[in-house]
Point group: C2
Chain length 197, copies 2
Amino acid sequence: MKYPNGKQYSSAGKSPGTNFSQGYSNRGMTLEEDINATNTFYLDTDRAVIHKKPTPVQIVNVNYPKRSAAVITEAYFKQASTTDYNGIYRNKYIDFEAKETKNKTRFPLANIHEHQIAHMKSVIHHGGISFLIIRFAVYNKTYYIPAESFFPYWDQQFKKDGKKSIPYETITNEGYLIPFHYQARVNYLAIIDKLYF
Amino acid sequence: MKYPNGKQYSSAGKSPGTNFSQGYSNRGMTLEEDINATNTFYLDTDRAVIHKKPTPVQIVNVNYPKRSAAVITEAYFKQASTTDYNGIYRNKYIDFEAKETKNKTRFPLANIHEHQIAHMKSVIHHGGISFLIIRFAVYNKTYYIPAESFFPYWDQQFKKDGKKSIPYETITNEGYLIPFHYQARVNYLAIIDKLYF
């Protein structure tokens, strides 16, 4: 295992590396960078308070040099026990996971973990709003999938002949295309407004 | 600087070290350990979905050895931009910070950061429930302080002759003693039930 999502680690915004070569209309930002920028815009304009949780790390060794910052010298990536983003919007608890795929025809369910699904089910049970943001990088299309619509596709994979992925067409039918806005690059609150208010 | 809160890092639950010598009636657990156990109990009994956010870490260098897990070999503690705990309870967004002090007479305001106060003010503005959990370790008493009650004490410190701490007596008057429960060691939902439902 490398990083829990299977990708090599790259420090956000610091070394975008190959991302610039993907030809996004929105200047080669990753989905995570776009969502972070969106959340900052929501916060600055007092629309919502939604943050990405820090990457969970198991710290094994720390050095405390004199007169300088503590240095973590040995640590490992841990698998997250919840989704990556949560917060509050219009009195409602908001909770979601975001995934980008380079696949052209389907979203592989292996991108999501069982405990994240369990978490999203709990959130809905307690009255929160939960969803997935899925970007198909090759089309540069980003969809909002209500968690309630996602669960049946998740659950069916464990049945006989269950499918391990969701076709792109299903995503476009069950999901909502998230509009791009210059400052809210992944303007998902527009979908929440439409669905819940 | 060491850890943002000024303390040396200790891996929760792994090496409790000196904590066991503090003579808590609740078996020498730190406040963080008690709250984590409480949140796990709430989750297991389906009462609430509240988690501690991971410690924010700035990752600088990662090694990817063949056939084994990625190792972070250089990283630094970052200051959190929000509070440590959030989640959902009875349809409400819940957001709080927890601090333990060894001080016998007062709670030093330096334990909290300006951006955490700004965050708590935003949370309340958007309809969430925000508070502080403050433990006076020497008395083994843990209090729930509504954020709204805390703000005036925070704000006055910047005025002329402002006090940089809150007296213990004020905490006991403005706050609510959190009951200890065998499985919910810091049973703060009992206070939320009383105040909001």
